[in-house]
Amino acid sequence: MTQTADQSRTFLDGIRRIAEDVAAPAADEVDREARFPHEALAALRAVGALSAYVPRSHGGEEMGFGEIASACFELSRACAAAGMVYAMHQIQVAAIVRHGAGSPFFDQYLADLVSGERLIASATSEVGVGGDLRSSIAAVTPDGADVVFEKQAPTISYGEHADDLLTTLRRSPDADRGDQVLVLTRGDEARLEQTSSWDSLGMRGTCSPGYVVRARITPEHVLPVPFAHIAAQTMVPVTHIVWAQVWLGIATAAYDRARAFVRGQARNMPGTVPPAATRLSSLAAELHTMRAEISTATDEYASMIESGADPDDLFTLGYAIRINALKISASERVALVCRDALEICGIAGYKNDTPFSVGRNLRDGLSATLMIANDRIHATNAALLLVHKAG
């Protein structure tokens, strides 16, 4: 981490202002109309937040991982869709920074990301692999000097609004399903044909319908490292951490509303502690546990990648188990916190048009256990625990 405390504070103050002044006022409309939070993204671009993680060597601000994670939290507290778009973009940026830097093509891309504040989406899911991130059917297929691919993606979040796209593919037409690479397509190098809609319970502003992705590119668009490494060292831990920060933002927003509701009750009955205040106390404890768990995982990952140690020594099976457990725990807790906040706010929370409405938070939070289904993660951890020795 090379940014100073001042730079870090300036960055997060800027993000907080965008969250409060831009993302929050639009959040209900973004949700109701299932539309992209374009004003929040424009404001984030204007302060260079899309490229903040890019190292100074490539013209970026080299903000620490912890700051990026906190930014996901701050935005999601105001608008979970804006926060999730920002979080997913940062996963792609981290993959390129950590595994592409050093290749002339990706060095140039990182410089362009800084000058153009480009938004990157990802096409990692695929029709026919049953939700397994680590399997692909579509393959990088040589065609003359170029390579081509066609992938059926059941969902690409903000695909229509992104500048560029990272896609997982099999390395070649004869490669095994698990022998994957990650491929960048810039601008209209990839053509997206929408195949389904996105009228969802929550996270409506992420605009995540399905597409067929078709592209013809040069071979240097393929990240030079196997996707297995990118997944283990960057994509899986970063995803689980920044998603957890988004969910913490949602949970905190619901808690804020419950707290405001109880305070209002107390003001109307000076001298007595309203009955709901006891519930608020349990909710505060629940939120505290959630926050502690997520910030520990964030700090641990930040110190791992900043230690400069050999990634193979750091990203052990024990670490994989821990980071999977974080996903399970945080994703289950966010819905519980929102549900408890609803119990506290009562009908005022159930209605969609009061200062204490928690419907949007609850619906957004319910996506958490489904994004990489917890059942799948439990199955993975169950297998890993068979060989893991420590607790």
């Binding site: 680590r134 390395r171 095994d176 399903r177 698990g178 022998d179 196997p226 297995a228 490494h229 283990a232 193979d312 020594d313 990203f315 052990t316 099976l317 024990g318 993975t380 297998a383 890993l384 068979l386 060989v387 893991h388 020795k389 420590a390």
Partner: protein, 82 residues
């Protein structure tokens, strides 16, 4: 030891190719070993060689080829003999 390792790999790594065609340094993950299969491979190796891989060895690099598995097993068996 090599033959026993290859035998266990053939049985549990569920590779897309014939183990006999793989060199000692060939990447088993690239040959189709999934993380689930790698866990089964670890358990089977522990059973075959009567060792326990300590947590520090439970990382990708240790199980990525026949030769890296051999190095880990040699380290464990020499520790046991010492």
């Amino acid at each position: 030891m090599e033959d026993r390792i290859r035998h266990v790999v053939a049985e549990y790594a569920r590779l897309a190719v014939d183990t006999a065609d793989l060199s000692d340094s060939a990447d088993l993950y690239a040959a189709g070993m999934t993380s689930h299969a790698s866990v089964n491979l670890m358990l089977a190796l522990e059973n075959e060689f009567d060792v326990e891989f300590p947590d520090r060895m439970l990382r990708r690099g240790v199980f990525e080829s026949v030769s890296s598995i051999r190095a880990a097993l040699e380290e464990l068996t020499s520790e046991a003999a010492a």
